[in-house]
Symmetry: C2
DNA sequence: ATTAATCTTGACAAAATTACTCGGACATAT
DNA sequence: ATATGTCCGAGTAATTTTGTCAAGATTAAT
């Protein structure tokens, strides 16, 4: 039941992008330095985020990335689902994916539990936006840009 | 954010044990056949469950396992924590384990999210007991013993 | 036009974790 | 004694994670 570095670093990167956005595109280099993530790895994370329509890229010199939508319209769930796939404790309760369904799913007592876990997690992460994180950050600490957090 | 087979099979096994308990000890062999889990692997799962005080073993011929407590006093959380460790999305929010704490945990916006995820999952699984699963099962299907569910 | 900066893509690989299997020791009912 | 179970630790194949790397495409600045 752990998130992988994809989800965690991706969330950090998106938060960094939201926090430092001033109209100009932000380089992966800058994000990587602030958040302690290698640019090489960031490239791998930002690509699906772009394809999911969460960020826009500006190519060429002085290029970079900007949020594709207001921070208040990007949820933590959007980011995690993009980078980790459906947020489910077992594959057979993923809504998208009928392929992993079990044969006796209609009379499975475990399934009831897994659906509850799935729903509770998804409710939490869908209720938090990048703007919420920014608000939290401003309230907690005006200067620090969370560099020494590994996750 | 997936459970491993340890947690899933362990839950199945404990449910099987609770459902089929009639005072006599139940062999891993029987559980394995009903739930489609190899006895070899089951041995590995039942061992920590015994050490955690959730089941009692009866060694020797005609031996087996019985629940150490009433089904109504064993939660899904007990089982999952025993087999998977602390239920947390990232190590730094595990209560037991101060070792994985981040250096700036006091001003980390991600942490707030991870704590919420942690709490919501733990609330769900702590609120469900083996007895609840049995009740669900009896209501859904009186005969079937969920054999073809992989999880 | 050239150059330098930056994104884009796909391949590759080391490390860690998962998901088991196996062999043998031990305990007990018959 | 023997058959039937649990108990324990080692070992291992497969998978996933966590990155690195190189070559190419695009564009701003000069
Ligand atoms: S575990 Fe998939 S439905 Fe039972
Ligand atoms: S991620 Fe561990 S506290 Fe910030």
């Amino acid at each position: 039941m752990k998130l992988t570095t994809k989800g965690r670093y991706g969330l950090k990167a998106m938060f960094d992008l939201a926090l430092n956005s001033n109209g100009e595109p932000i380089k992966l280099n800058a994000i990587g330095e602030r958040q302690g993530i290698s640019v090489n790895y960031l490239e791998q994370l930002i690509s699906p985020l772009r394809k999911a329509g969460l960020v826009k890229s500006v190519r060429g010199a002085q290029g970079g990335y900007i949020l594709a939508k207001p921070a208040s319209e990007i949820t933590v769930r959007d980011i995690l689902v993009t980078l980790e796939g459906p947020i489910v404790p077992v594959d057979c309760v993923s809504e998208d994916d009928d392929e992993n369904l079990c044969t006796h799913s209609d009379c499975c007592v475990s399934r009831i539990i897994y659906e509850k876990i799935r729903d509770s997690i998804n409710e939490v992460v869908a209720s938090i936006t990048l703007q919420d994180m920014i608000d939290d950050h401003k309230q907690i600490n005006a200067t620090n840009i969370q560099v020494n957090c590994k996750n």
